[in-house]
Amino acid sequence: MPVAAPKKSSRRRAEPELIFGDLWEFDPAPESADPKLQDRYRPFIGGKFVAPKSGKYFASINPGTGKPLAEIALASPQDVDTAYAAASKAFPAWSKLPGAERGKYLYRLARILQDRAREFAVAETMDGGKPIKESRDFDVPMAAAHFFYHAGWADKLAYAFPGANPQPHGVVGQVIPWNFPLLMLAWKIAPALATGNTVVLKPAETTSITALKFAEVVQEAGLPPGVVNIVTGAGETGAAVVNHPKAAKVAFTGSTDVGKLIMRSTAGTGKKLTLELGGKAANIVFEDAPLDQAVEGIVNGIFFNQGHVCCAGSRLLVQESVADAVLKRLRNRVSVLRVGNPLDKNTDIGAINSKEQLDKISGLVKAGIAEGAEMFQPKCSLPRNGYYFRPTLFSGVEQSHRIAREEIFGPVLSILTFRTQSEAVEKANNTAYGLSAGVWTEKGSRILKMSTALKAGVVWANTYNKFDPTSPFGGYKESGFGREGGKQGLADYVKLT
């Protein structure tokens, strides 16, 4: 034996434990940049902010404090109609503009976003509740990166689709969710503009502010009026955007339920459709995986953006032989996550986006306990006001539990075990969704095998939640169809004749 065995202590001692206490507590470190918010935001139509015909406004709540942040216009179907009229009017000139000229506008949007990055990051965090370090290091830079990337394609479309003649669809109706408000806007608007389409976009009702701040950027960049139109409101406004007869294409990111409604309502209309919907991704840890880094990936997979991520690794599948070791590490790791004020630079988990979402998460967690799964939450304190939820681990979860099947969209991880590779594949694919998956192993051949066996649009190997504008993103089954990013994403915004 080359390795000396650990010395056995003769007297029995208590199970060794780590103490994650307050011996050296961090003081608040709030980001102080001015988000430059207005008291009241109006729809952006035809290059101008115009009063809504409904005359109605609703409050946008800061989920970090529970207090109102600004008033947002409730756009009526008439407002949506005006927006489509403006977009239709702008389409002929915009689509005929040489690609290089469209590219210049996109580069300008990207650069202005970079210039105003801190302001946008603070606004995004106040409006949506995500930690400032995420909006600062991920959302805003990645949004700018999407504009840069698609700016590059604008004058190279003929090379993107050799032998075909890529033509824009016309006016594109786009509806985006509240989890990555600015980034989802960038994913939608950048490829649409690069390919010569004009857009009518509706942000989620709880997170409209950065979309309307982006409208300011559109003005600053001098885009022709009507190329980008932004209408705000809830489901009714969204339905008007999707069902408008002038919409040549509809792009939606959000829940599977709404996706099904949209699919029904667009059926037979000839509208092109792409849907990016929910997920219940399996993050699969094999026994040969580097465990500490796998744990880091698990944490990043489920607690990134409070778990409000459609591709979140919400189902952890861990091989039985290392299940205890992984769970032990995971508990220690989760115990040092910092939950609290989203504007604090040290916050790891911010606020849940809305009261409604908090209730939904709490409900599913109660169901998990009732169904017999074992829950672990760290003892961290939560702010008194605002919407917060502790990072939550459920072990002993079975395939038939609700928390293993339904999308929770919160900081809640369901842990299941498996014995063999084929069992892992079987369990991972045993879901209505198919957006993403993760594989942790040192064996390269296993990664290749798993990537074809897993029915998921994205499979990450030995990492998780990695995004890049060049990489297509999208799902299988009830996670939707169509891709965003890369050449594949571009293809969804052109007619190939």
Binding site: P28, L291, K345
Partner: protein, 312 residues
């Protein structure tokens, strides 16, 4: 001999698990985004100062230089309420001069590098004799180097036996085992060497990153690999091993990020100079400079701080 290496290495890695380089560097980078402000910054700076092994390891060291180092270690600054450093770290020949300067009872320990530091390329009996002499001259702590040649050749028994022999030669003195991470190259090797060392040293002994004499020294990532190993060993055996990153930690900000790594990996029980040290010389004055800034709101010129550990 060399042919055996992959086999024993694989066997060991199967037992202790491997490290993913991309993942560990990503984890380490997150510590750098922690923002330490106001009272927590002052507390962190003082804690870091109390963890410094104030070091001079030069061919040109003299009793005079060592005396200056000792005075600085006991009282780093005239006005600040700054604790003494944990230890001074010197060559064996300087131990008796350090003892003379510090006296018999001192809040500052004397650490001596030994075992043919930094290469370790001397016969074992010479290395052990060096350790014994340093202890006899008054060293409280011994910083040894592992036999990297033996490790890389897969001769783990030999590497561990030598460490065990040094443990015995130390007697009451605390032992710090330098892995010299830059010569081990991979994170897997660092993890493997950490375990091999931890299994033959005592509670309260240290594993240490580097000698400071090679190009690459302590980084947040190799510090993390060793902290993870210490945690695993502790949870498995109950034996708490201490940690000392050395070399390359020059700024207060860096030191605070290393402390964040300790706080978030091993927890409060390691936030003490009995379990965590910085092997450094220029770090101390930057800590003091930041402490003065926290008190007065202004940065002082570097020359206002007494220089006792530099390589001038």
């Amino acid at each position: 001999m060399c042919a055996a290496s992959p086999v024993v290495f694989r066997r060991l890695m199967n037992e202790i698990g491997s490290v993913d380089a991309v993942g560990v560097e990503e984890r380490a980078a997150k510590y750098g985004t922690r923002s330490i402000k106001t009272a927590s910054k002052v507390a962190g700076l003082k804690l870091a100062a109390s963890m410094v092994d104030l070091t001079t390891l030069e061919g040109k060291d003299t009793p005079g230089k060592v005396r200056a180092l000792c005075v600085k270690a006991i009282r780093p600054h005239d006005d600040l309420d700054c604790p003494p450093t944990a230890a001074v770290c010197v060559y064996p020949a300087m131990v008796k001069h350090a003892r003379a300067a510090l006296g018999e009872k001192s809040p500052v320990n004397i650490a001596s590098v030994a075992t043919a530091f930094p290469s370790g390329q001397a016969p074992l009996r010479t290395r052990l004799a060096e350790v014994k002499t340093a202890v006899a001259d008054g060293a409280d702590e011994i910083d040894m180097v592992i036999n990297r040649g033996a490790f890389l050749a897969g001769e783990y028994n030999r590497m561990q036996d030598e460490i065990a022999a040094v443990v015995e030669a130390c007697g009451e003195a605390t032992l710090k085992v330098i892995l010299e991470t830059s010569e081990l190259e991979t994170y897997d090797n660092i993890r493997a060497a950490s375990f091999l060392a931890m299994r033959v040293i005592r509670e309260g002994d240290f594993i240490k990153t580097s000698t400071g004499k090679t190009g690459a020294n302590a980084t947040l990532a190799n510090n993390q690999v060793m902290l993870d190993a210490i945690r695993d060993h502790y949870l498995e055996t109950g034996t708490a091993i201490a940690m000392k990153p050395a070399g390359g930690i020059k700024s207060a900000k860096q030191a605070l990020h290393f402390l964040v790594a300790v706080k978030e990996t091993l927890g409060d029980a390691w936030l003490t100079n009995r379990r965590y040290r910085f092997g450094a010389s220029s770090l101390l004055n930057d800590l003091l400079r930041q402490l003065v800034k926290m008190e007065t709101g202004v940065y002082q010129a570097p020359y206002t701080f007494s220089e006792a550990a530099g390589t001038y």
